[in-house]
């Protein structure tokens, strides 16, 4: 099997055992990227030399006997919303075109410390606002299963890169589903850790109380290895949880769910859900039961209010977070010809630098926070958020994890929802509640929809700091399904 088809764990072992070098592994992936990028457009920035140099340095560290983690020398695609001191960081926005941060994000520096080799920066919806990667200022990314379809979003470059074998691993951020939904529609694994479990320092903020860095991989164990590599307390992030990282790798290896109590969220299903998605989901629930889990139905009525609450809270925070892009200290500057005031230059720059979806959300948020509307919008949304968190807590008294489809439909065609924001927002219907409550949730592949032959994802939600439960259940499902399929779901994808 060629290097690009190996798992991250396998590559780590081969490199540690001296059977291949990190440089060879990096070059194999860079070659694959050169071959398929014209079709996929997963990357915004690739610099072969920088990447090979990183790989060479890891080989040298290993050669010098340094003990690095299990992923040392393994390549990774890094979402272009994490600051990287040696590569541009743009958040897929014109307003940051060419900007090079003077520092690494905590996630970035932890990847480097663990010896991961960064292949490049991946595409996303501008400032992570979207569910299709069509909102990138640098053109859409395409789904490797069907190049006419979206790879999900906002972390669509990261999901497509892994699904297209350009990288065994990638990073994403999940604010309303931006890891789980892209994982679901590209047939890979994507995990949103507990909020505060992974550091936001150096992650360009969209909605501070929701943004959560997390891993993408082609299998559950690889995702757990990456999760462990970059998670844990960071004094630079005040909201980071000062507690040990849940033992996610052990849980992924254990893959035993006998005796576990699993709740099916009653509210996620019915109208608006694609039949093929529901069929695969119900089969997955049966599978869980056959593996020894006790399945019950759980009602969470407040989840139906999660989407509107999210579309008040996230834009409110974004309207404030994005105020710093004012042409004064970095990034784009428009109209500074000596005749205009600072205020005019700010306005011209923001008008030219932000795309339509970003502007829409800034305006929504500005309105929701304004005097006289705050209580009715932002204040009310925060109350809904509290109710949702309580409902989750109550549910977790009954069950160990909750399950649902990750997203109501399979990958939709590029352009189909581009002019219909509400339809686009519905892609995150099932993922948003976990962001509002801050709990952990993963998406694992559970088959192909009959109508279109496209991947369907199973979402497994666990309480705050119960991340290991997501991996344990996810690994059990993966094991059972892959033995049924005779290989990974991704092996059924058409060749590129």
């Amino acid at each position: 099997m060629s290097l690009i088809h190996k798992t991250a764990a396998e590559l780590g072992a081969l490199i540690a055992g001296g059977e291949v070098t990190a440089v060879e592994v990096a070059e194999a992936h860079l070659d694959r990227m050169a071959e398929v990028e014209p079709k996929i457009n997963a990357f915004l920035h690739v610099d072969r030399e920088t990447t090979v140099e990183q790989a060479r340095a890891v080989d040298a560290r290993l050669g010098a006997g340094e003990r690095l983690g299990p992923l040392a020398g393994v390549p990774i695609a890094h979402k272009d919303i994490f600051a990287t001191a040696d590569m541009p960081t743009t958040a897929a926005s014109k307003i940051l075109e060419g900007w090079r941060p003077p520092y690494d994000a905590t996630v970035t520096s932890r990847l480097r410390a663990a010896g991961l080799v960064i292949l490049g920066k991946t595409n996303l919806d501008e400032f992570a606002m979207g569910s299709s990667t069509e909102n990138s200022a640098y053109g859409p990314t395409r789904n490797p299963w069907d190049l006419s379809r979206i790879p999900g979003g906002s972390s669509g470059g990261s999901s497509a890169a892994v699904a297209a074998y350009e990288a065994p691993l990638s990073t994403g951020t999940d604010t309303g589903g931006s890891i789980r939904q892209p994982a679901s529609v590209t047939g890979i694994v994507g995990m949103k850790p507990t909020y505060g479990g992974s550091s936001r320092y150096g992650l360009i903020a969209f909605a501070s109380s929701l943004d959560t860095p997390g891993p993408f991989a082609r299998n559950v164990l690889d995702a757990a290895l990456l999760h462990e590599a970059f998670s844990g307390h960071d004094p630079m992030d005040s909201t980071s949880i000062d507690a040990p990282v849940p033992s996610v790798v052990e849980a992924a290896r254990q893959a035993d769910i006998s005796g576990m109590r699993i709740g099916v969220v009653k509210e996620f299903g019915g109208d608006g859900y694609q039949p093929g998605v529901l069929a695969r989901f119900h089969e997955a629930v049966e599978l869980l039961e056959s593996l020894g889990a006790k399945v019950v139905e759980v009602s969470c009525p407040s989840f139906s209010t999660a989407l509107p609450a999210y579309y008040l809270i996230a834009p409110s925070e974004c309207s404030s977070n994005l105020a710093r892009f004012d042409a004064m200290r970095y990034g784009l500057r428009v109209g500074d010809d000596g005749t205009r005031s600072a205020e005019e230059v700010m306005a011209l720059t923001r008008a030219a630098g932000f795309g339509p979806e970003v502007k829409r959300r800034i305006m929504l948020g500005t309105y929701a926070l304004s005097s006289g509307y705050y209580d009715a919008y932002y204040g009310q949304a925060q109350k809904v958020r509290t109710v949702i968190s309580r409902e989750f807590e109550a549910a977790y008294h009954q069950v160990d994890v909750l399950v649902s489809p990750t997203t109501p439909t399979t990958a939709f065609p590029i352009g189909e929802r581009a002019d219909d924001p509400m339809a686009m927002y519905l892609a995150d219907l099932c993922t948003i509640p976990s962001n509002l409550s801050g709990n952990a949730a993963i998406s694992v592949p559970c088959g192909l929809a009959d109508e279109d032959g496209l991947p369907v994802g199973l979402q497994i939600m666990a309480p705050v700091l119960g991340d290991d439960r997501c991996y344990r259940v996810g690994a059990a499902v993966e094991q059972a399904l892959e033995s049924r399929w005779g290989g990974s779901l991704l092996s059924k994808a058409p060749a590129l």
């Binding site: 320092y201 360009i204 903020a205 109380s209 404030s320 710093r324 200290r329 304004s370 705050y374």
Partner: protein, 501 residues
Amino acid sequence: MTVGTHMPYDEALARFEPVLGLETHVELGTASKMFCGCKTTFGAPPNTQVCPTCLAFPGSLPTANAVAIESTIRIGLALNCSIAEWCRFARKNYFYPDMPKNYQISQYDEPLCFDGYLDVEVDGRTVRVEIERVHLEEDTGKSTHVGGATGRIQGADYSIVDYNRAGIPLVEIVTKPIEGTESLAPEVAKAYATELREIMRTLGVSDVRMEEGSMRCDVNVSLMPRGSSEWGTRTETKNVNSLRSIERSVRSEIERQAAILADGGRIIQETRHFHEDTGVTTPGRSKEEAQDYRYFPEPDLVPIAPDPAWVATLKDALPELPSVRRKRLQAEWGVSDLDMQAMHNADAFDLVEATVAAGAPAADARKWWMGELARRANESAVALATLPITPAQIARVTELVASGALNDKLAREVLEGVLAGEGSPDEVVERRGLKIVNDEGELSAIVDQVIAGNADAAEKVRSGKIAAAGALVGGVMKASRGKADAARARELILEKLGVSE
């Protein structure tokens, strides 16, 4: 700049009752900024104390300075406030180039400290100023507008921004409306700011240098017609930067508003600026086109939840507060209100107290500091405490006087020597040969010599004109170069000339 008419102060007070409100910003003297590790040294070259967080680079995050939170709680406790058991920072959103994030991390409806008071003494009267809230926030950068006549942004050719100040911890102390101060309103405002400044110094939380902007006052004034109980529209005079200007700006604003109201006009709710040179305020930004700051809880920071037990230990550990200390010192020293006020104005409490602690009687300690030394400090326009002389040295001089080794005149010479850097009091006495002549034989010889040399004066004394003895005493003092004990010399002269008083 248009300066409207002002009504004479007494007339204004006869027709209207002033209501005050003060918002005071105090920059805390922490080693690092509020939300990052940058230094806070005043006067560093522009933009040298900055980092990704205080420049609001994408992805940077704030972390709260624990010392600043502790200092704010101590300020609140000193102002008799309740301390929140749980509160949050909030974002105050508005665009301005010297504010890197285009929002300020501040506190909104959940201040760290609330509902306190501060008693101030004015004209022998105690006025209780109620404190609405004390909260913690961050300072902005500093804009300099180049070109244009006013130094303001309007009309400037370009502006430059120094972000060294951006993110320095700032405590805002807001009073409730202060009523019933009548004609003392300007003095009350000044006394409040003075007392606040002393509390900050006593707590050691800020250098409170108004001229460097580490303490700034916004002064709110409104008038209501006599007989009315409804407050008038207020104006807010921003960033008044000296105690004297606070007093003057209140007076000026009362006179200005009174003239407008008496004329049937209406006060515009606006911010105003005080001009030191003309002593009047001029309009700034009108608040009627109100900014909407879109406050919401700061999601990047966890809530502050000070443990009540810890707050109690902070309260127990508060130093003696200025007003309590003044009462204690006045009782210990037995001095009048007027003397206390003089020492207060001269910033002499520490010096006098240290001198007393070094063994000097309180009256002597106060006499030297408020007399000779205050005169010296005044002459060279420096603060008393910066004179190159220590309380211990003053105590030694008073000791020498008490033992009879020096008289007051010699003591002044000793002080002069110490101030001139000639060494300790004993060294100056030694080097200048200033010891008083208290050897009876030596003094007697000098007296004989003076009597012999001034036969006319001696004869006058003998014949009963005792007043003429003064000339002979003067002669003795001159001959002894001031070191004689003048009283003893007089006794000896009269004795030798066979007369008595």
